[in-house]
Symmetry: C2
Subunit: 238 residues, 2 copies
C-alpha cells in the first residue's frame, strides 16, 4: 500500500462506510488536489471529527475529486477535557481556541461572569469553528473541538456531567506539577475573568467540587491560564 500523500488529516463530517465513495467538499478538494497534488490511486487519511478515522483512495483527481473509503475505524475518546473560560483581552481568544484544539480539548465553553462578559458577535463562533477544523487537520486528531456559545456559570453548572473531574485555575491552589492529570474520563478546567470571581461564583464552584490548581508561580493572563491548564491536561495523554 503506498504511503499516504497528505501530512494533514482531511475533515469529512459526512464520512460514509467502507466501500462507499464520496465527492470531496470544497476545502478538502483544494487541499488534496491543489496543495498536496494527489493523483488517482493516492491514499489519504480522513476523520469525521467524531472518532472515525478512515483511509481514502482517490478515484478521480479532477476537481472536486472523488474518493472511496477503503477502511474505517471508530474509537470512543479515552479521555476528554472541557475549558470553561472568561473573556481574555480583545484579540486573544482566537489563538486560545486554536491551541485548545491542538491539545485535543473536546469542548470550548466561553463563560460570562458577574464581573466580565463576552461581547456578543455573530462572526466569532464561526471563526472559532474554522480554527478548530484547521487545528484538527494539522494535528491529525479524530475529535473536533466543540465550540459552544457563552453562558453564565449557573447554566454551565446545570449541564455538568456527574463524573467529571473539576479544577479551577487559582494561584492559591496546589501546584499543578505535583498533581497527575487524569488518565481517563472527562476533566473540566475553569478559568475566571481578569477582575476575579464574585463571592457567589466562588461559593458555587466550591459547592460543585471544583478544586483550585496553581498553574504557575506568577499572575497569568486569562488566555495563558486556559492554555496552561490544557497543556497540563494534555501532558497526561498516553
Amino acid at each position: 500500500m503506498p504511503a499516504e500523500v497528505a501530512p494533514c488529516v482531511l475533515y469529512l463530517p459526512e464520512l460514509p462506510e467502507p466501500g462507499a465513495s464520496l465527492l470531496l467538499p470544497a476545502e478538502e478538494s483544494h487541499y488534496l488536489l491543489r496543495v498536496v497534488r494527489a493523483r488517482v490511486g493516492d491514499r489519504a487519511t480522513a476523520t469525521d471529527g467524531r472518532g472515525a478515522l478512515a483511509t481514502l483512495v482517490l478515484l478521480e483527481d479532477r476537481p472536486p475529486g472523488r474518493a472511496r473509503v477503503e477502511s474505517l475505524e471508530r474509537t470512543a475518546p479515552a479521555r476528554g477535557a472541557q475549558v470553561w473560560c472568561g473573556p481574555p483581552a480583545p484579540g486573544r481568544s482566537d489563538w486560545v481556541v486554536e491551541k485548545l484544539a491542538e491539545f485535543g480539548v473536546g469542548v470550548w465553553q466561553p463563560l460570562d461572569w458577574a464581573r466580565a462578559s463576552w461581547s456578543r458577535g455573530g462572526a466569532r463562533s464561526g471563526r472559532w469553528r474554522r480554527l478548530a477544523v484547521a487545528a484538527l487537520r494539522q494535528s491529525r486528531r479524530r475529535f473536533l473541538l466543540e465550540v459552544r456559545e457563552p453562558v453564565a456559570l449557573g447554566e454551565a453548572l446545570e449541564g455538568l456531567s456527574a463524573g467529571a473531574a473539576r479544577w479551577l485555575a487559582d494561584p492559591a491552589g496546589a501546584a499543578a506539577g505535583g498533581v497527575a492529570p487524569p488518565a481517563e474520563g472527562v476533566a473540566i478546567g475553569v478559568v475566571g475573568p481578569a477582575p476575579g470571581l464574585s463571592p457567589e461564583e466562588s461559593r458555587a464552584l466550591e459547592r460543585a467540587g471544583f478544586v483550585p490548581l496553581r498553574l504557575a508561580d506568577g499572575v497569568l493572563r486569562t488566555e495563558t491560564a486556559a492554555l496552561a491548564w490544557a497543556a497540563w491536561w494534555a501532558a497526561g495523554g498516553a
Copy 2:
C-alpha cells in the same frame, strides 16, 4: 502604609539602593502618573528584572515623576528555565515570547536547525524584548526573560551549563504528565523545527543528555510545543 496603587510592577533596570530617589523613565512615568494616576505619597512596586523587588514612594507627581526607594529585597532565582526553539510559522513567535515571559522562563534561545533557520531581521529582537518587559510588568515578576540571538545547535550546546536538566519535545518520549517538573536548578526545553531534526542533530542532543518528553498525544506546532513545555515546567513552581 497605604496599599500600592498599581496592579503592575514597574520595570526599573537602574533601581538604586533604599533611601535613594530616582526620576521615572518615560514608560514607567506614563504608566504610574497617567494610567494609574498615582499621587505624592502613593506606593508602587518595582523590579530591576534581575531579582530585586522594591517599594517606591512617589515624591513628585509632575511628569516625569520622582520616587524614593523605601525598601528593597534581592532574591536569587529558586529555579530557572531556558527554551531553545526552532522557527514557528511566520507571525507566531511574538506570542511565544510573551507567554514564556508570563510563565517565568528565564532565557529565550531561538535555534537555527539544519532544516529550518530563523530569518534575520533587526527589529525582531527589540520587539521581543519589549514584549518580555510588558509581560514582566503584568505578571509582577522579578526576573526579566533574556532574549538571545539565534544560534545553531552546536553553539548552544557549547554554552550549556553543566548541571542543567535537559528535555527534548518528542512524541516518542515519556508522557510529561507522569514526569515531575524539577523544583530547583535550571531546566532546558528544546523544540525542533516543523521539518524535524537531522540525524546529526538527534545524535548531538542524545549525546548531550537531552531526554525525550511527550507533551501531548497529537502533533503540536512548534510554538505550541514551546508553550506546552514551559507550562509543564511552570506547573512545578512553588
